[in-house]
C-alpha cells in the first residue's frame, strides 16, 4: 500500500508549508511544490502525481485555473485536483467550474477540510461519489489503482500488484505480493469496476489477477499464483480457462 503523491501549486510559502505539514501528518507524500505555472507543468510531468492542490491565484493571476485547463486538454494526463481560493469572486468560480471535475477549498481551511477536499476530488474524478464517507465502501477503483481510505488518509495500491481478491460478506481481502489487507466494498461492485480481461472469478468469493497465475491444476481444482499462493478453482467458474491462451 503506497502513499498518495500530492503536487502543491501555491505561491505563498506559508500556505504551502501548512499544507505540507498537514499532508505529511496524514501520510500523504508531497511530490513537489510549484510557485508558478511553468514550474507546475514541469513538476507535473516529471513526477508521478495522484492529486494536485492548486491555488487559483498565482502572483495575482488566475494561473491555477489555466494550469487545470491545460492538463485537462491532454488525454489521460489529467489527475484529480482541488482548487484553493480565498476569493469568492463569481467569475473565478464560473471559470473554474468549467475544468470538470471540479472541487474547491475555501481559505482558511483546517486539516479535516483539506482531507475531505482531497477525498472529494478523487471521488469526483473517478466518478464514484459518496464512497469514502459512507459506511458501505471505502475504496475508489481507477484503471491503475485502488484508492483506499485508511483512517483519515487515503492510500493507493497499484492494481497490477494484486494477486487475488477474497470476498467475505461486505469486505474484500486484497492480497498483493507484499501484503494483505481488507477493504470495504461489495463483490458485485468490485467485479464491475475491475478490468474483466485481467480479473476473473475462480470461485464464488475469489477474484484472481490473470497475470499473476503461474499454474492451473484442473485435476486438483487448484490455481497456483506468484508467491506460492494456492487458490481453489470451482467448477462453475472453470470456463475462463478456455479463453486463456495456453502455451503448448
Amino acid at each position: 500500500m503506497d502513499n498518495i503523491n500530492v503536487l502543491i501549486i501555491e505561491d505563498t510559502a506559508e500556505q504551502s508549508d501548512a499544507l505540507i505539514k498537514v499532508l505529511r501528518q496524514n501520510n500523504y507524500a508531497v511530490a513537489g511544490v510549484a510557485a508558478n505555472f511553468t514550474d507546475a507543468l514541469k513538476l507535473f510531468y516529471e513526477n508521478t502525481i495522484d492529486i494536485i492542490i492548486i491555488d487559483v491565484f498565482l502572483d495575482g493571476k488566475p494561473d491555477g485555473i489555466t494550469f487545470a485547463e491545460s492538463i485537462n486538454i491532454i488525454p489521460n494526463a489529467s489527475k484529480p485536483f482541488v482548487f484553493l481560493t480565498s476569493s469568492q469572486d463569481r467569475q473565478i468560480f464560473e471559470r473554474a467550474k468549467l475544468t470538470k471535475p471540479f472541487s474547491f477549498l475555501m481559505k482558511p481551511f483546517n486539516e479535516l477540510e483539506i482531507l475531505y477536499a482531497l477525498e472529494m476530488a478523487v471521488e469526483k474524478f473517478y466518478a464514484q461519489t459518496n464512497v469514502f464517507l459512507s459506511e458501505e465502501q471505502d475504496t475508489v477503483i481507477s484503471s491503475d489503482f485502488l484508492f483506499i481510505k485508511k483512517k483519515k488518509s487515503l492510500k493507493k495500491v497499484a492494481i497490477q500488484e494484486i494477486l487475488y481478491i477474497e470476498v467475505e460478506e461486505r469486505y474484500c481481502n486484497i492480497i498483493t505480493e507484499k501484503e494483505k489487507f481488507v477493504i470495504l466494498i461489495s463483490l458485485t461492485k468490485i467485479n464491475d469496476l475491475l478490468d474483466k480481461n485481467k480479473f476473473v472469478r475462480t470461485h464464488r468469493n475469489t477474484i484472481v489477477n490473470i497475470d499473476k497465475i503461474e499454474e492451473i491444476i484442473p485435476a486438483d481444482n487448484l490455481i497456483l499464483l506468484k508467491g506460492n499462493h494456492k487458490i481453489n478453482l470451482s467448477d462453475t467458474y472453470k470456463d475462463f480457462i478456455k479463453k486463456m491462451n495456453i502455451l503448448s
Partner: protein, 578 residues
C-alpha cells in the same frame, strides 16, 4: 268716324281690368278663403297659394297651386287650385290657359259663379263671342246670382259688351242699361265709370251722339273722382273727341291737353315705376350682396366655431392628459415615498448594525491589544502557565472577531448577489466534524461536551460553503450561550426521502418565545444589546436563514429559558443515483 273707333278701342282695352279690380274687392270671397285657410292649415301649398292669391302675386300663386294640385286629391282643394290658376292666368292675359283651368272647376265649388263669370270673360277676351254669350246666359240662369247684384251687373255688362261686339246694339243697350242700373245702386265709382263709358261708346258707335254725349260727360265728371289716371286720360280724350265732332275745337283742345297731361303723368308714373323697379332691382342686388357677405360671415363664423370646437377638444385632451399624468405622478411619488421610508428604515437598521459591528470589532481588537500587552508582560516574568492561558484567550478573541468579519463579508456578498453558489452532494457528518475541529479549543475552554451523532450515511445536496457558514454560526451560538460543562449535540432525524433534518441541541441558557419570533422574522436584525456579552447583532442568524433558504432548507427553533435550545434545520438530500 275714325275717332269713334279709336274710342271704342280704348274702351275695349280698359274693360278687363275694370272687371278684375272689382272682383278682388269681394269681401265675401276673402272671408271664405280665411275660413278655408284655417280648415286646411296643414296643406302648406294651399295656404301659400291662397295667401299669394290675396296678395295678387300671380306667379307665386301659380307655382303653389300647381304643387297643391299634384299633392292632393280633395275635390275642394282641387277646385280652389284651378280657380286660383284661372284667375292668375287671366291676370297674366293667358286666356286660353285660364279657360282650360276654369272649365275644370266642378259645379259644387263655392265660387262657381265667380268662376263661370271669369270663364265667360275669357271667351270674350278670346273673341269667341258666341261661346261668351252662351256662358253669360248660363251664369244668369244660376240661382245664386239673384242674391249677388255685383255679379249680376257683371254678367249683364259682359252680355252687353258681347252683343256690342256682335253689333246687336239693341240687346247690348238692354243689358248695359241693366248693368248700369245695378251699378248706380252700388255706387262703385270705377265700375260706374266703366258702365258710363260702355253706354257712351254704345250710343256713339250708333251715331246717337245726343244720347252718347251725356254719358261721356258723366264719365268725365266721374273720372275726376277716380284715382285711375289712365281712366281720367281716357275720359278727357273721349270728351276731346266729342267736342271735336261738335266742331268745338277750343274745348276739344282743352280736353286733349288735359288728356295729354294725364297721359304724361301716366308716363311719369310709369317712369316712377320703372325707377322704382330699378331701385328694387338695385335693392335686390344690394340684398344679394348682403346675403353673400352674410354667407361669408357665416362661413367665417362656422370656421371660427370649428376652431373653437377643436381648441376645446384639444384643451380637454390636454386637461385629461394633465390629470392623468398628475395622478401618475402622485402615485409614483407615493410609491417613492413608501420606498424611501422602507429604505430609510433599512438604512437605519444597517447603520445600527454597523455601529454594533464596529463596536464589537473594536472591543475585540482592544481586548486582543490588552491581552497582548499582558502577554508580553507575562513573558518577561516567565510565568508560562499564565502565558498559555493568555494565548488561548487571544486566539478565542481573534476567532470571534474573524467569524464576525466572515459573517459580514458573506452577508455583504449575499446582499449584492455576488456569492458563488454551487450545489453538490455533501457528507453531512464530515462537515460537522470539520466545523467542530475549529471550535475544539473553545469547547475545551468551556469544558463543553460535544457529540456528532450525525448519521454517516447522510448526504445532502447543498452548497458546501454556505452550509458551513450556517453550521459555524449555529455552533458558535451554541457555545456562546452554553454554560460551563454543558453539552452540544448534532444529530440527524429522517423525515422523508427528500429532506434530512439536522438538530443542533445545547443545554445553554435558551431563550423566550419573543426572542425566537424576533429571530425568525424576515429581514430583521436583532440589533439589541441586552446583554453585552451574550447577545450579538443577529447578523449570524439572519445570514443562516438566508443561506438555508437559498439551499432549499428550513429552520425552526425550539427553546425555553434555561432549558437549552434546539435548532431544527432541514436540507434536501442527495438523490441516491446522483
Amino acid at each position: 268716324m275714325n275717332n269713334k273707333w279709336i274710342l271704342l278701342f280704348a274702351f275695349l282695352i280698359l274693360i278687363i281690368p275694370g272687371f278684375l279690380f272689382s272682383q278682388s274687392t269681394d269681401a265675401l270671397e276673402k272671408s271664405i278663403l280665411k275660413k278655408k285657410a284655417v280648415e286646411y292649415k296643414k296643406e302648406i301649398n294651399f295656404i301659400k297659394s291662397q295667401s299669394f292669391y290675396q296678395k295678387k302675386e300671380w306667379d307665386s300663386t301659380l307655382i303653389y297651386s300647381m304643387k297643391q294640385l299634384s299633392s292632393t286629391n280633395k275635390k275642394e282643394l282641387i277646385d280652389f287650385s284651378h280657380y286660383f290658376r284661372g284667375t292668375s292666368f287671366i291676370q297674366k292675359k293667358l286666356h286660353k290657359e285660364a279657360k282650360k283651368e276654369l272649365l275644370l272647376i266642378s259645379d259644387k265649388f263655392e265660387f262657381y259663379l265667380n268662376a263661370r263669370i271669369l270663364l265667360a270673360t275669357s271667351f270674350l277676351e278670346l273673341r269667341e263671342f258666341k261661346a261668351a254669350l252662351l256662358h253669360y246666359e248660363n251664369v244668369l240662369k244660376l240661382p245664386e246670382i239673384s242674391k249677388q247684384p255685383h255679379h249680376l251687373s257683371k254678367a249683364y255688362e259682359g252680355l252687353g259688351i258681347t252683343y256690342f261686339f256682335l253689333e246687336k246694339y239693341d240687346s247690348a243697350e238692354n243689358y248695359l242699361v241693366k248693368s248700369l242700373e245695378i251699378k248706380e245702386k252700388q255706387k262703385n265709382e270705377t265700375e260706374l265709370l266703366n258702365a258710363y263709358n260702355a253706354m257712351a261708346n254704345l250710343y256713339y258707335v250708333q251715331y246717337k251722339d245726343s244720347q252718347a254725349i251725356p254719358y261721356f260727360e258723366k264719365a268725365y265728371a266721374l273720372s275726376k273722382k277716380v284715382k285711375n289716371i289712365s281712366k281720367k286720360a281716357m275720359a278727357a280724350e273721349n270728351m276731346a273727341a266729342v267736342e271735336e265732332n261738335r266742331n268745338n275745337y277750343k274745348k276739344a283742345l282743352a280736353y286733349k291737353k288735359e288728356s295729354d297731361q294725364w297721359k304724361d303723368s301716366l308716363n311719369n308714373q310709369n317712369k316712377v315705376w320703372a325707377v322704382a323697379d330699378f331701385e328694387k332691382k338695385f335693392a335686390v342686388a344690394q340684398k344679394q350682396k348682403e346675403i353673400k357677405v352674410l354667407q361669408v360671415e357665416n362661413e367665417l363664423k362656422n370656421s371660427q366655431r370649428n376652431g373653437f370646437f377643436f381648441a376645446a377638444i384639444g384643451l380637454l385632451l390636454l386637461l385629461t392628459g394633465g390629470v392623468y399624468l398628475y395622478s401618475q405622478k402622485v402615485k409614483n411619488s407615493k410609491i417613492i415615498l413608501l420606498q424611501k421610508n422602507k429604505l430609510d428604515e433599512l438604512n437605519a437598521t444597517k447603520d445600527q448594525l454597523f455601529s454594533i459591528v464596529s463596536h464589537d470589532l473594536r472591543s475585540s481588537v482592544h481586548a486582543l491589544k490588552a491581552s497582548n500587552a499582558k502577554l508580553s508582560e507575562t513573558l518577561e516574568t516567565k510565568n508560562y502557565d499564565e502565558l498559555n492561558q493568555l494565548i488561548v484567550q487571544n486566539s478565542g478573541i481573534a476567532n470571534s472577531a474573524y467569524s464576525l468579519l466572515d459573517n459580514l463579508l458573506h452577508w455583504a456578498m449575499l446582499q449584492t448577489k455576488q456569492l458563488y453558489f454551487h450545489k453538490e452532494s455533501v457528507h453531512l457528518h464530515s462537515i460537522v466534524q470539520q466545523i467542530e475541529y475549529n471550535y475544539k479549543p473553545l469547547l475545551l475552554d468551556k469544558a463543553l461536551d460535544f457529540e456528532n451523532l450525525v448519521s454517516k450515511n447522510v448526504f445532502i445536496f447543498v452548497d458546501l460553503d454556505s452550509v458551513k457558514i450556517v453550521l459555524r454560526n449555529l455552533l458558535d451560538n451554541a457555545i456562546k450561550f452554553s454554560k460551563q460543562n454543558g453539552k452540544i449535540t448534532f444529530y440527524t432525524q429522517e423525515i422523508n426521502t427528500d429532506l434530512c433534518q439536522l438538530i443542533i441541541e445545547d443545554t445553554g441558557i435558551g431563550m423566550n418565545e419573543i426572542t425566537i419570533e424576533e429571530l425568525l422574522q424576515e429581514n430583521e436584525l436583532l440589533a439589541k444589546k441586552r446583554n453585552s456579552e451574550n447577545i450579538g447583532t443577529g447578523l449570524g442568524l439572519q445570514l443562516c436563514k438566508q443561506m438555508i433558504k437559498k439551499n432549499g432548507g428550513t429552520i425552526a427553533i425550539e427553546s425555553a429559558p434555561d432549558k437549552g435550545t434546539k435548532m431544527n434545520l432541514s436540507f434536501p438530500k442527495t438523490k441516491n443515483n446522483g
